[in-house]
């Protein structure tokens, strides 16, 4: 279904702020909003545990940059840049978001919309922590690094 794509690039951080490192995606968004002057047409969204509410934000941008935590076994704080084509390309355990990112992306593909470019930055975490709203030192140190990668991604797109 054709949508009005009025946003050039939308950066969405996903995660639960109540589960420590799992919420790193939202921490990255907060960092970007506090420390960067994003160019016009670039939009930042705290996706939280937003599930299907995020469908429209995905549909209304030309390019999507997702930031999320992953339990992929790599040392905590490890950063990866992925270009997923299918929901099954997403790394394991984006599990604490109720309706997960995979389900959301599946729904998105199912609607037959012309897909935006999706780029996913993941931050490896060691475990889900309970009862904390803060990040572990390794993951905290990764926040400005991911933010810088996101900004570089935005810059590249701008020049293109």
């Amino acid at each position: 279904m054709p949508q009005n794509r009025n946003i050039a690039i939308r950066i969405i951080g996903i995660g639960n702020l109540l589960l420590g490192d799992e919420g790193v995606g939202v921490h990255v968004i907060r960092h970007l909003l506090d420390h960067s002057n994003l160019p016009a047409g670039v939009d930042c969204l705290d996706g939280g545990t937003g599930s299907l509410v995020l469908l429209e934000p995905l549909q209304t941008a030309h390019r999507i940059i997702l930031v999320d935590a992953t339990l992929d076994g790599a040392p905590p704080g490890t950063l990866r840049r992925l270009v997923p084509k299918f929901s099954s390309d997403f790394p394991p355990s984006l599990a604490a978001h109720d309706i997960g990112l995979r389900d959301l992306l599946d729904s998105f593909y199912l609607l037959g919309d012309e897909l935006p470019d999706v780029i996913l930055f993941t931050v490896s975490i060691a475990e889900m922590q309970n009862m904390v709203t803060t990040l572990s030192p390794e993951v905290l140190a990764a926040v400005p690094l991911v933010a810088a990668m996101v900004l570089e991604e935005v810059g590249v797109v701008d020049r293109a």
Partner: protein
């Protein structure tokens, strides 16, 4: 030896519920429901400003965010004796109704329909025949041969790509699927329509709550500023937008959801005798029209039903320490006074005591502790919560809207009222409720517009906003109804900060383990007697569990920081 089936995770979406069911001769004879994830909201809240609590509780769950915020601000208002202005009550009710309509429709199409609808079968359907059937039950504009053919070809491509994605976990071709290919096509087509529609409806939350996901709430009112002419306020344009979203919601529910529900239910009437489970129902009620303190003014009434006796409604008091208590005989916690006692949430204490096997494991030790969910009881009774409980309480209390619509649905399906005590009844009750709530949403909207036009703009009371005006200690309970059932937050405020904060969420009522007397909770009881044709593909178990709308990610919680065992809990 009997065969014990393990379903883990049980939610089609990602979740943290594990069901172990014993199947003998093709029927479930015993069942165990376990929450396998623990979460720590209460600990995070201790020591914080009670006026901030809603922003944290709202993050507990991605599905019922707004209701956790509502329960939170109410608990604080209840503790401090704050009554919100009329417009604030109306805005909260509108957000509540929008959440219900969106959540129930999403549940039906995205989380439950695939238990009844065979996606693969629809590839064989004749789109012209499908359109004929669809047009015979509804005037929905997308019920055309062309639209159905387009959906079919899109799905075909999707299935052929090998990327089944959201449909990957289905038991397609199972003989328990009874719908003709054309009805399957109709349902899948509406599944996609629902996806598109729901994202519009939730803009009501964005407009009133300032953002989405996780809209803003406020102790003492709502953070909305009405000004019909002002660009940055909730102005005429935004109010008109909300009005048209409500109109579309009524259309979608009446032209798509309800006709589909009735059409599908007609093929599965045998499920009106399966999955009844407990005979007790509990509703806290909601949608106040004369203040949260005036329970009699609630459109969704409060009350308890015991033994399916609809002639007697018992009063429910969330503050009475003799009514709601939580037990831990089969939960991975310990109590100071011993594991056999029950504690009211105001007196709640919790210490982790993980005694389960180290994951990954084959079976839980169901003789001992086997869940991270505590076991809540109302006056010692296990209670079912959710749309069925709400509709039964409203019906028994004589609510005219509910009585009329329930009567009409029963007549249409040609079944007696006793069929409501079943898996199908639970699913039908959710539909009935959605239709009623969609119309109530319109009424609330009309009332709000009339107030604003009459010059009434106030949405917030400063009364008791300043902590200097608070008593040294105060206790409050915020009771509401999440779409999936009774939800309450209990708060104790001491010297201006949170001293204790506790949640009992709907899935804790329904999905909890047995109590100390061995009484099963709702999921476990409802599964007894469920037929299972093929233990390798237990779609029948999913039908009953999904009829409750499980949401385990928000059901597991703790009160105490001690508990290294958390690290052993696996995520699935």
């Amino acid at each position: 030896m009997s065969n014990r089936i393990v379903i883990d995770p049980v939610t089609r979406i990602e979740g943290h519920l594990r069901i172990e069911a014993v199947v003998e001769n093709g029927v479930v004879t015993d069942a165990f429901s376990a929450g396998t994830m623990v979460r720590g909201i209460e600990k995070i809240l201790k020591g914080r400003d009670p006026r901030d609590a809603w922003a944290f509780t709202e993050r507990v769950c991605g599905v019922c965010t707004t209701v956790h915020a509502l329960a939170s601000v109410r608990s604080v208002e209840n503790a401090l004796g704050i009554t919100v202005p009329k417009n604030a009550e109306l805005v909260r009710n509108l957000m509540f109704c929008a959440q219900y309509v969106q959540d129930h429709v999403v549940h039906f199409y995205h989380l439950h329909a695939l238990d009844w609808v065979d996606v693969v079968s629809m590839l064989k359907a004749n789109p012209v025949e499908a359109a004929k059937i669809a047009q015979s039950i509804s005037p929905w504009e997308k019920n055309t041969p062309g639209h159905f053919a387009a959906v079919q070809s899109r799905l075909k491509k999707y299935v052929e790509s090998g990327q089944l994605g959201i449909f990957a976990n289905g038991y397609w071709g199972h003989k328990a699927y009874k719908l003709p290919p054309e009805v399957n096509l109709l349902a899948v087509s509406h599944y996609l329509d629902a996806l598109e529609w729901q994202k519009e409806l939730v803009k009501i939350h964005t407009i009133f709550g300032g953002k989405n996901p996780h809209p803003n709430y406020l102790v003492g009112g709502v953070p909305c500023s009405f000004n019909l002419e002002e660009v940055n306020a909730i102005n005429t344009e935004r109010l008109n937008h909300i009005g048209s979203l409500i109109k579309d919601a009524i259309t979608f529910v009446e032209q798509v959801y309800i006709p589909d529900l009735l059409a599908i239910a007609g093929f599965y009437k045998d499920w009106a005798t399966i999955g009844g489970g407990l005979q007790n129902y509990l509703a806290y009620g909601d949608l106040p029209t004369k203040g949260y303190g005036n329970v009699d003014s609630f459109l969704l009434p409060r009350g308890a039903i015991l033994g399916r006796n609809l002639n007697e409604i018992h009063e429910v008091n969330g503050k009475n320490v003799e009514e709601i208590k939580e037990y831990i005989s089969h939960s991975w916690y310990k109590y100071g006074a011993g594991d056999g006692v029950g504690l009211h949430p105001f007196a709640g204490e919790t210490e982790f005591n993980y005694t389960g096997p180290k994951p990954p494991y084959e079976h839980l030790n169901v003789e001992g502790k086997y869940s991270w969910l505590k076991t809540p009881r109302w006056k010692e009774h296990p209670m079912e919560v959710g749309p069925l409980a709400r509709m039964l309480v409203a019906y028994a209390k004589g609510n005219t809207d509910v009585k009329e619509l329930v009567g009409a649905v029963l007549k249409k399906l040609d079944v007696p009222i006793t069929v409501l005590f079943s898996t199908l009844g639970r699913t039908a009750a959710r539909g009935v409720e959605t239709q009623i709530v969609a119309h109530w949403m319109k009424n609330f909207y009309d009332e709000l517009i009339a107030n604003i036009k009459g010059g009434e703009m106030n949405t917030f009371t400063r009364d008791k906003w300043e902590p200097a005006s608070w008593p040294a200690t105060a206790e409050g309970v915020g009771m509401t109804e999440a779409p999936r059932g009774a939800l309450a937050h209990w708060v104790r405020i001491k010297d201006g900060i949170i001293d204790n904060y506790q949640l009992v969420v709907p899935s804790t009522w329904n999905a909890s383990p047995r109590d100390s007397k061995g009484q099963r909770s709702a999921y476990e009881e409802a599964l007894i007697g469920t037929p299972v044709a093929n233990p390798e593909q237990p779609v029948e178990i999913l039908r009953t569990i999904h009829s409750f709308d499980p949401c385990l990610a928000c059901a597991v919680h703790i009160y105490d920081p001690k508990g290294e065992q958390v690290h052993q809990v696996q995520f699935y």
